[in-house]
Symmetry: C2
Subunit: 646 residues, 2 copies
């Protein structure tokens, strides 16, 4: 098996992503630091760092926050780690170092490090894996430690975390004296694979495998665990004992059956993503064909039955969960930002199992749509839930109360903003991957990088105005001439791609799973890719009942929406003729610079009657669409992605 | 002011309604008797009659059921009263008499009669009007007593109930020593007007007016009442103290502002209907123009903004309530059967304020669609919630759990089946009304009746096959020739009506609010009405976002739906061409005899992709539609009312 490795040191010079990466460095990281330190006015207090101070004996007071409050600190550290790669900031690094030192002082003598249990239920460690996120928080700290070590070379956090993992490894495993448990919220599994990657220590991989394969074995561990809890005094958890797991059974945690037998994506969408990432990682590390097959089946289920066109997933607020196939309501779904971030990460991991355009297409769909929509253009306000249709004038029904019509400042349960921040800060990690002699270009994000291919150092740069323009130039520079494959993804959305090398056209008939493999001797070469960006009209599968008779607009990787700011109120009354001509123009002043789409359409004229036999009267109206990710950056108003065709 | 009186003694010989009335007499009444006596296997026990036995000291045990369990007994008695008019049944009448005697024995010495308080909280009478339905149950007993007296001439129940009302009148009212309360669930107000009608006793009308005008005065009585409850030990109620009134405030009970200031229908839909009925009744009795105006404003709000095409109302399960204008989702609404029954009753009452077709059109819409859908064709299973779209294969989202995809046997909260039964048993009461010299024919329900017009006895019969055929014959027979107005409603759905008298065409240009007034001297005459029943394509107002691009079929008063049984699964994939020819054929073997509609349409062919740029491929398909009320009488499957047009 050829090992496919990601390339983590690309320099982003992309006009689209650079802005976001700057915002994360300049706005989001300081903002979140203030949040973690309870220094945001008018926002939910976090208390996350204060919890560590109390645990370290350096402050008094009580634990406050969700049971997974620690993970906000970990995600902040992870984001800082990525950001420091291209935004060096000694002051920030010092803050991080001091925070890491605090974590060290908060850590128990035996390595344990979870402030909820240290402060709130010191005698109850590992007694409620189902609800209390101990292993989940540990996983986020592992990810942070790996990232901080990779960026700075400093091992303090890695040492702290390896001590903690040693403790965890002594508690869980197949040996008779150990607990047969696994996390209620997956995360540590994928983190352990990362820790194995950076340390080369096999026990970490074995523990990841143990957690994955133990999951869903019968009798389900959480049942036994609950029985054992009866002999203790435990604080009540978020999990309602009258309706455990939101009535979803152990499907909620993907623990209803052994992981390798699972073929349908079920339960809490973020949990599912983190599990599937770990499975893909383990399959990539071990070459396990069964696990790879399971990942593929689950991938097909998510992307063919359960994914919004924005790459939103999780259509039910109840349990923030997947529902049944093709159940994709646009106004009452969940589509948590974290879930789309997870989907992007999973897609990127699937590409390490097998370079196949379908994964990169979804990765791109998530990056440019359903994840970014979670943040405003200033990086100051965030969506948890990413609807495809809102009407803020409607007094919300109870089943839509979770759908906010404006981004919020900070959340009591603050998982999404830091998750999005770490994704943006590390977006370059998904652009390329490679084997010994093949370089895969999955994403078109401008910038440069160096790597070694067929034993020779190669410099590669991308220049373009993607995602607004599809003219892409790759420059390949090698010291000595060297043979390798350059595998370029031809996006699934582009039917008319053209590629030439040093001005000479290359045929595109023979794509391999959507990649054009250019095998040649490279030296100083220019590869030009033309990806014409037509405005496409997308239709849903006829089984998606909510979207019938409607289309969504997509141009390049960008999914569009219409907003009241451009089109007036009552967007449901807009009608798009089947043959209307679509104009796409770049407007540098609009929403930080976007291509907006305009077309001649109609609006159904208002009528008084609630029901009428009369044919609707139509007035001509220019319909203006903007990128979905940029919605709700002007005044509050209606928005919708799916438009009625006529 | 001319008093418009309903005519309550028409004999129904209608092939459509006769069947339903027979079912109520032969199936529903005995079935519900068994339910009230806990003799139904596999169904929720009712305990309603046992509660009275316990209260009478004739049985031991504890109260069981909802706080309004008594009302099921009352509604059964009311239904029996109507049914006995045309289905004489000495055995049933004896059962009723014995039950009435039991009520008498259960009644407290001071007249009080509510088994919940008699048995469960004897010291707490009148301390929780907001939640505990005391006055509501009293109202239903008043309605039963009036109906039983009107049918049988027996006054035992009326005596019992007048004693109870005397007690209530001594407790509530403007006098200083009395409570300033009013019911949390309206019902007694309209019942008191009925009691006034049959007894002529003014205090009943005054008490009704007091309850209506006191409602919503500030400070809201329920606040003071809650304060007072703190000095008592009360059982917890269904109203969650953490989210009182489902978070809807006093709008839930229409007590947020004085009734005469209300212009928008809000809160619990059944409560709202019962209040509006009482307001219309009071306005009709007193000629109060302000109250009439308020009724008209509320009517417009409901029927122009908040009513499904089936006459379903109440689009939110939360609080079984109205939401905002044009918020009419088809798959997650409430549309309680009781609410549509209430709407039918309200429409009929509005006709007593003013004969205006808009009221009769809604009355008819409710009778033939959203009420009847609440019962299967055998009268054995019932819907509480009447969706316009179901897909039983979809694992229900939490926000749709209340929407059942099959009718159920009996409910713990059994309000709807008896409510529907009493509506069917008394459907003839809505056909005609009259002043001294004008007879109004509001509904086309075949049968005959006698009344006095301009001082002369007149016999009138209707013959037709309505609602399947629009050829209607009225025969008017008078002993002596007599001048009076016959005012015929020309239904709003019919654009091509023709009327002739004794074979001679009458012009229809001058309709007065949708009624054709025929002023002449009558003796032995035949009036023929032709109401051609074209299949109409109805569209929703463009503000109803859920229904855009879709049409509903209506023929005569009947709203249609498509079912999987006729059209296969995935009904959302059906496409109806704008110009398709509609065939309407009577099929006597289908669903107890219906006109079914067939047309040449298309079905979008299945595709694998979740999203595609390819235009949908269509296969021709005959689309078959059946009356909405008759859905779910064959195998379980999909159903939808709104169909995609192309």
């Amino acid at each position: 098996m050829k090992v496919i490795s990601p390339i983590k040191h690309a320099i982003v010079e992309d006009h689209f992503w650079k802005k976001y990466k700057d915002i994360v460095a300049d706005e989001v990281i300081p903002y979140q630091w203030n949040a973690l330190n309870d220094e945001l006015p008018d926002a939910e207090p976090s208390h996350a760092i204060e919890n560590f101070r109390i645990a370290a004996g350096e402050s008094s007071g009580e634990y406050y926050g969700t049971v997974f409050q620690d993970s906000d600190v970990a995600k902040w550290l992870e984001t800082v780690s990525y950001s420091l790669r291209d935004h060096p900031n000694p002051l920030l690094e010092k803050q991080a170092d001091e925070l890491i030192a605090l974590l060290g002082r908060a850590q128990a003598a035996d390595g344990y490090l979870n402030t909820y249990y240290l402060l709130r239920e010191p005698g109850n460690r590992w007694t409620n894996l189902r609800d209390n996120h101990e292993l989940y928080c540990a996983g986020h700290f592992i990810e942070a430690a790996v990232a901080y070590y990779e960026t700075t070379g400093k091992s303090e956090l890695l040492d702290i975390i390896e001590n903690y993992v040693a403790l965890i490894d002594s508690v869980f495993g197949p040996e008779e004296e150990k607990l047969k448990g696994y996390p209620g919220h997956e995360e540590i599994e994928l983190a352990l694979v990362k820790l194995y990657e950076v340390t080369g220590k096999e026990p970490y991989l074995n523990l990841a495998r143990y957690f994955i394969d133990q999951r869903g074995q019968h009798p389900v561990y959480f049942v036994e665990e609950k029985e054992n809890r009866k002999q203790r005094v435990s604080a009540p958890t978020w999990n309602d004992e009258n309706q455990v797991n939101f009535g979803l059974g152990f499907e909620y945690q993907q623990a209803h059956q052994p992981v390798r037998e699972q073929t349908e994506a079920v339960g809490h969408a973020v949990r599912a993503m983190y599990l599937y990432i770990a499975m893909a990682d383990l399959a990539a590390k071990t070459g396990d064909p069964e696990l790879k097959k399971t990942c593929e089946l689950l991938w097909n289920d998510v992307t063919e039955h359960k994914m919004y066109i924005t790459a939103g997933i999780g259509s039910a607020v109840n349990g923030e969960a997947f529902t049944c196939n093709h159940d994709l309501p646009n106004d009452s779904m969940y589509c948590e930002t974290c879930a789309s971030v997870g989907l992007a990460f999973w897609a990127s991991r699937m590409l390490r199992l097998e370079p196949d355009r379908q994964y990169a297409d979804v990765l791109e769909r998530a990056l440019y749509n359903g994840t970014l929509s979670g943040m405003d253009l200033d990086g100051k306000r965030f969506f948890y839930v990413n609807p495809l249709e809102v009407n803020p004038y409607q007094k919300a029904r109870k089943d839509q109360e979770h759908v906010k019509t404006e981004r919020q400042k900070w959340f009591f349960c603050a998982c999404c903003p830091p998750n999005l921040a770490r994704m943006i800060a590390s977006v370059e990690d998904h652009i390329y991957s490679q084997t010994e002699d093949t370089l895969f270009a999955h994403l078109y994000i401008a910038g440069k990088m160096k790597t070694s291919l067929s034993g020779t150092e190669v410099e590669i740069s991308q220049t373009h105005l993607y995602p607004w323009d599809g003219s892409i130039e790759f420059r390949i520079h090698t010291g000595d001439a060297v043979k390798f494959n350059l595998a370029l993804r031809i996006p699934g959305w582009c039917k008319e791609a053209r590629v030439n090398i040093n001005g000479e056209e290359t045929p595109l008939e023979h794509l391999e799973k959507g990649y054009l493999y250019i095998h040649r001797t490279w030296n100083d070469d220019i590869v030009s890719i033309e990806l014409p960006m037509r405005v496409e009209r997308l239709r849903s599968n006829p089984l998606v009942s909510m979207n019938q008779g409607q289309i969504a607009l997509q141009r390049g990787p960008i999914v569009y929406c219409v907003e009241e700011a451009d089109n007036g109120a009552n967007l449901a009354a807009l009608r798009l003729p089947q043959d209307s001509d679509m104009k796409a123009d770049y407007d540098e002043h609009l929403l930080n610079g976007i291509v907006k789409i305009t077309t001649e359409g109609y609006r159904v004229q208002p009528v008084a009657a609630l029901y009428t036999t009369e044919a609707p009267k139509l007035s001509p109206q220019i319909i203006t669409a903007i990128p979905y990710y940029a919605w709700c950056n002007r005044e509050k108003g209606e928005m919708r992605v799916w438009l009625h065709e006529m």
